[in-house]
């Protein structure tokens, strides 16, 4: 069953006279529980695609279907609620809330749904990500790598069906990167989560079940090779 489907997705940016085709006819489907890595050069359209999958941006044309629902047709708040229940997003620029401490940042999406967080699980994640002793720290007291790990913990904490991560290891050394990705993968397997990550790191890409390459807004390769998740 395909949990993520895009049909002929296009995103064009008009800056003055110049038109940038950030995505140019992307058709992609991701199966439930799959671990997908997106690679490509800088400016090729990876982040744009991930934003589209997460319903954070509106395509110029084409459709995005998540878990059988066409998200481009959803109302704003409907989409927000859908996203907070289904998708964990790890931003390239972390997007932590400056007024909340580490722990609060992590559990906020759960609390917004009116649910008590699974404290034990959150503790597990904090420990695994090496944040256990920083849980009361404020975001601006953390290094870039620490902030990135908090962003990842936030995406994992609600045990969403889909995790979308934009260069989640960009600020981590390769050893930590592997540990963190290992954790994500284990969690993914444990809860049957679908993982889509953008990465520049070849070793990490190799951990994925499938790798797709994007160049100039188009997909190249991406044949499924049944290694990893299945």
């Amino acid at each position: 069953m395909d949990i993520l489907v895009t049909e002929n997705l296009r995103k064009y940016y008009q800056t003055g006279e110049v038109q940038v085709k950030a995505l140019d006819g992307v058709s992609l489907s991701v199966r439930k529980g799959e671990f997908l890595a997106i690679v490509g050069t800088s400016g090729s359209g990876k982040s744009t695609l991930l934003h589209m999958l997460g319903g954070l941006d509106v395509p110029t044309s084409g459709r995005v279907i998540v878990d059988g629902k066409d998200i481009s047709r959803m109302e704003r708040d409907e989409l927000t609620v859908f996203r907070r229940r289904k998708i964990g997003f790890v931003f390239q620029s972390y997007n932590l809330l400056p007024l909340l401490n580490v722990y609060e940042n992590i559990i906020l999406p759960i609390r917004l749904d009116g649910i008590r967080p699974d404290r034990e699980y959150v503790e597990q994640i904090l420990t695994a990500l090496g944040l256990a002793d920083r849980r009361e720290a404020m975001p601006n007291q953390l290094s870039g790598g620490q902030q990135q790990r908090v962003a990842m913990a936030r995406a994992l904490a609600a045990k969403p069906a889909i995790i979308l991560a934009d260069e989640p290891t960009g600020n981590l050394d390769s050893r930590t990167s592997q540990d963190v990705l290992g954790l994500m993968k284990t969690a993914g397997e444990q809860f049957g989560q679908t993982l889509v990550i953008i990465t520049h790191n070849d070793e990490i890409a190799q951990m994925a079940g499938r790798i797709i390459r994007i160049e100039d807004g188009k997909i190249y390769g991406g044949e499924r090779h049944d290694k990893g998740t299945e």
């Binding site: 704003r76 996203r83 997003f89 997007n95 400056p98 917004l112 749904d113 404020m138 975001p139 601006n140």
Partner: protein, 863 residues
């Protein structure tokens, strides 16, 4: 050399920055403009407000003076004129009383002669307006509008002829004349006048006067002015008891107790001469100065907060830019200069514009508004009598605004100068150095609470400006309340109209018959008709009244030798008028009101059985010597003039429900009792209450009942109300103007802060939404923030404003016993407006600023 170049660079950079920040600088200019406008208009309005209030106080007194001296002698006048502390010395002589116009009886229209100084420097400042000129010829007369109204003249004309019956107040006319005086006048006067003189001594005289002018004052008493020649003709001297008064205007705005004593010591006063002066003059002056200063400081503080706020917001937004400038080598001093320079340029535009608008408002809009709300003031405004705004208040306002501008840009300049380049890059508005803290509950309300205090300074600005505005509103409200005509009249008079039988003590003709009373009761809208029945009686000698007469003998009004008096009294026969008592009665409603006014417990049943009576001392400041004692009296008007009645005096006060007249001892008894004792009950006064107070229709219908009878005069609360309403309107317009201005300032401050905060947090809102906070939840959170701001501000204002307004009310109220009241409807309206604004503004701004896709919003901060 290098330094000079540097300066040039800074100037260039400042210019470029200033231009680049066009929109934001516009806001700063606007803040300065608004503050200047406020300071200037508040100064102008404040000055105008206070002078209006002062003017009104003077008008209430009827004369603008500081001290008065009774029965002045010529050499005393000379001495006072030579004193350098005294600016004006004005003489007034009360010389005659008009009793009748045509065939219409009047309630004592007093005629005075006043000298030129008194007229120009002391009387004119106290009149609302006047037409015509001060009387010069003997037959010329100037009358107050109330006097004209009492005569039934609604449209007076200069030169109109007034046939008046009058009598002189000369002492010999009352039977105590000295022969020398008559001879002296005899020599001076023609034979023709001599004939009149004979009539004059027999009291009533008929002459035709020429109306040469009229004036409106607030005393609401019927009086008038006559020429010096006429005054001499009446024979009244300035040294005659209670007739002559010297009014002294002090040069300084206040005088001390020592000054009063100095004047007193230099004058060699006669035993019955008195100086009346305000012993608390200095205190009163200081209170006014303190009040004005506080008001001014409050406005400055509001303006300071406003400018500070815009500058601070502007600098915070530019902090990254300043950080960059620092990384490329700009010094703190140079950065500060950059901020100051921009503040100065904003001031150059904002201050003149603000002054211009304030001037326009003060000189054009303000009189128009006044005309609109108080058409009665038209003559004052057209005559240019209205308090003028002076140029120096604008100059002052301009300087103050500039100072405020510079001092309020100090802190922002410091922030710009002190920022470290790295911190500037991370600057998140307010809390830069987060400290670790424990977990909060992540409910929307607790997140809102954290957001409110995320920038403590801005939270303080909001709370302070709201608290100031609302507290000022409370204070303005009580000042208005203390000038509220209805509030005052409801308190000082317990009737709507009072009819007086003018034949009282002068024939006692039965005018207020049962039929007339029934007629009045039948008028639609009349709630209650109270009557005062009066009878004459005599007090035989009795020990219980000795103290009372002793006090009376020592008073100015019935001076005499107490021992002689008592000796006479012991041997007096029952007809002797000197020992007369005026016995008046009150009905049930009258008793109820009297009891309330006296505030004591009086046994109503005993009162109705005629066992107790109430004593009054209108002319003697009482020592309560009569309370508990008995009064014995005969009723000469009674069925049995020989019968002696004995009553216990239950209370003694200055309240006398009947018509008060010098020389009578007064007793109040119950109507039920008095009616049984007299042959023909004589009703001297009728007091009428309407269903709705101040009802015009009822008033007209009620007045019509006695319109044809010249022997009836009336005293109408509605007419007093109409007179007072004009000054009330003035106070209202000025006060509310001030209140609105401050409220607008607070509201703008709030909008300014909110707009900046919502804009600053735009990216944060996007982040919140991206991790699952719905727009609805965000709006709820913003609403919580608004409720928090409104709630805290309003609670703070209640805490500060209510007690303050109570204190101020006690200072400004015109009647000592006027009760304090909170005008809840207007206050609740203000609260509602503030609450609504606080709650709606952030949400509306959020909706407005939320444009573009989430990704666009998430990235917004970076540019």
């Amino acid at each position: 050399m290098i330094k000079v170049q540097n300066k040039g660079v800074i100037r260039e950079l400042a210019r470029a920055t200033y231009r680049a920040n066009g929109k934001r600088n516009l806001l700063t200019v606007f803040a300065i403009f608004l503050t200047t406008f406020l300071v200037a208009s508040v100064t102008a309005l404040g000055i105008s407000y206070w002078s209006t209030l002062q003017e009104r106080n003077i008008r209430m007194m009827g004369m603008d003076y500081d001290m008065e001296l009774s029965e002045p002698r010529e050499e005393q006048i000379e001495k006072l004129r030579s004193m350098k502390e005294i600016e004006y010395v004005g003489l007034s002589i009360r010389c005659a009383i008009v009793r009748q116009y045509g065939d219409k009886l009047l309630d004592k229209v007093r005629l005075h002669w006043i000298d030129e100084t008194c007229w120009e420097k002391q009387k004119l400042p106290a009149v609302e307006y006047y037409k015509g000129e001060y009387p010069k010829a003997k037959n010329e007369i100037m009358l107050s509008v109330s006097a004209l109204r009492a005569m039934g003249i609604d449209t007076p004309e200069i030169g109109m002829e007034l046939p008046l019956n009058w009598y002189s107040l000369a002492e010999y006319a009352e039977g105590e004349e000295t022969t020398e005086e008559t001879e002296e006048t005899e020599q001076e006067m023609s034979v023709d006048i001599l004939k009149e003189m004979t009539a004059l001594q027999g009291s009533n005289l008929k002459s035709t006067f020429r109306l040469c002018g009229w004036y409106l004052d607030y005393q609401n008493s019927a009086n008038g002015y006559v020429s010096r020649e006429f005054c001499e003709f009446t024979g009244v001297k300035q040294t005659d008891f209670t007739k002559g008064t010297l009014f002294l205007s002090w040069k300084a705005p206040f005088y001390s107790r020592q000054d009063i004593a100095d004047v007193q010591n230099q004058l060699d006063l006669d035993w019955n001469q008195i100086i009346r002066a305000d012993e608390e003059s200095i205190e009163a002056f200081l209170k006014i100065v303190a009040g004005l200063t506080v008001l001014f400081l409050i406005i400055l503080l509001s303006g300071y907060l406003f400018i500070y706020n815009t500058m601070y917001l502007s600098v915070s937004k530019d902090i990254r830019y300043y950080g960059q400038l620092k990384t490329i080598g700009m010094t703190s001093k140079q950065l500060k200069g950059l901020v100051y320079r921009q503040a100065f340029w904003s001031a150059c535009i904002g201050i003149p514009a603000g002054l211009l608008l304030a001037w326009l408002v003060a000189s054009l809009a303000f009189p128009k508004i006044l005309l609109l709300v108080a058409p009665g003031l038209t003559p004052v405004i057209e005559s240019g009598n209205m308090a003028q705004t002076s140029w120096w208040s604008f100059l002052l306002a301009g300087m103050v605004a500039l100072l405020t501008d510079i001092s309020s840009s100090r802190k922002p300049a410091q922030i710009a100068g002190d920022c470290s380049p790295v911190e500037a890059m991370r600057y998140a508005g307010g809390k830069t150095k987060g400290r670790s803290r424990r977990e909060h509950s992540l409910s929307l309300s607790s997140m809102a609470w954290q957001n409110m205090f995320r920038d403590k300074k801005q939270a303080a600005v909001i709370f302070l400006s709201f608290t100031i505005a609302v507290s000022m509103f409370f204070i303005i409200n009580v000042v208005i309340l203390s000038n509220d005509a209805k509030h005052i009249l409801n308190h000082v008079s317990d009737y709507d109209i009072e009819f007086l039988n003018e034949t009282v003590l002068n024939g006692d003709e039965p005018i207020f018959t049962e039929e007339k009373q029934e007629e009045l009761k039948a008028v639609p809208g009349v709630k209650q008709v109270r009557r005062i029945i009066a009878a004459n009686g005599v007090l035989p000698y009795q020990e219980s009244y000795e103290e009372y007469y002793k006090a009376l003998c020592q008073s100015r009004y019935a001076p005499g030798n107490y021992e002689e008096f008592i000796a006479d009294w012991r041997t007096a026969d029952a007809e002797d008028y000197r020992y007369e008592v005026r016995v008046v009665s009150v009905d049930e409603r009258g008793f109820e009101l009297l009891k309330k006014a006296l505030g004591g417990e009086i046994d109503q049943e005993a009162f109705e059985r005629g066992e107790i009576a109430l004593a009054s001392q209108v002319f003697v400041a009482g020592d309560q010597s009569l309370v508990g004692k008995t009064a014995r009296f005969f009723l000469s008007d009674g069925k049995q003039p020989e019968q002696e009645y004995t009553m216990t005096i239950a209370a003694e006060s200055s309240i006398f429900p009947g018509y008060a007249s010098v020389g009578y001892t007064e007793l109040t008894v119950s109507e039920k009792w008095l009616r049984e004792q007299v042959k023909e009950p004589f009703v001297e006064l009728l007091r009428i209450e309407y269903e709705t107070r101040f009802s015009r229709e009822t008033e007209e219908a009620v007045k019509a009942v006695f319109a044809e009878d010249p022997r009836v005069s009336y005293d109408s609360t509605l007419e007093q109300y109409n007179d007072m309403r004009q000054s009330e309107a003035q106070v209202k317009v000025l006060g509310n103007g001030l209140g609105i201005i401050l409220a607008v300032l607070a509201i703008l401050n709030y909008l300014n802060v909110t707009a900046a905060s919502v804009q600053n947090r735009n990216q944060e809102f996007a982040t919140l939404e991206s991790i699952g906070m719905t727009a609805k939840q965000i709006r709820t959170m913003l609403r919580f923030e608004g409720i928090g701001y409104a709630g805290i501000s309003l609670i703070a204002s209640l805490g500060a404003g209510l007690p303050l307004s109570f204190l101020i009310f006690r200072y400004v109220r015109t009647y000592r016993s006027l009760p304090y009241a909170i005008p809840w409807p207007s206050n609740l309206l203000l609260f509602a407006v503030i609450a609504l604004l606080c709650i709606l503004a952030p949400v509306v701004l959020y909706q407005k600023l939320q444009t573009g896709s989430m990704i666009e919003r998430l990235r917004e901060k970076e540019n």
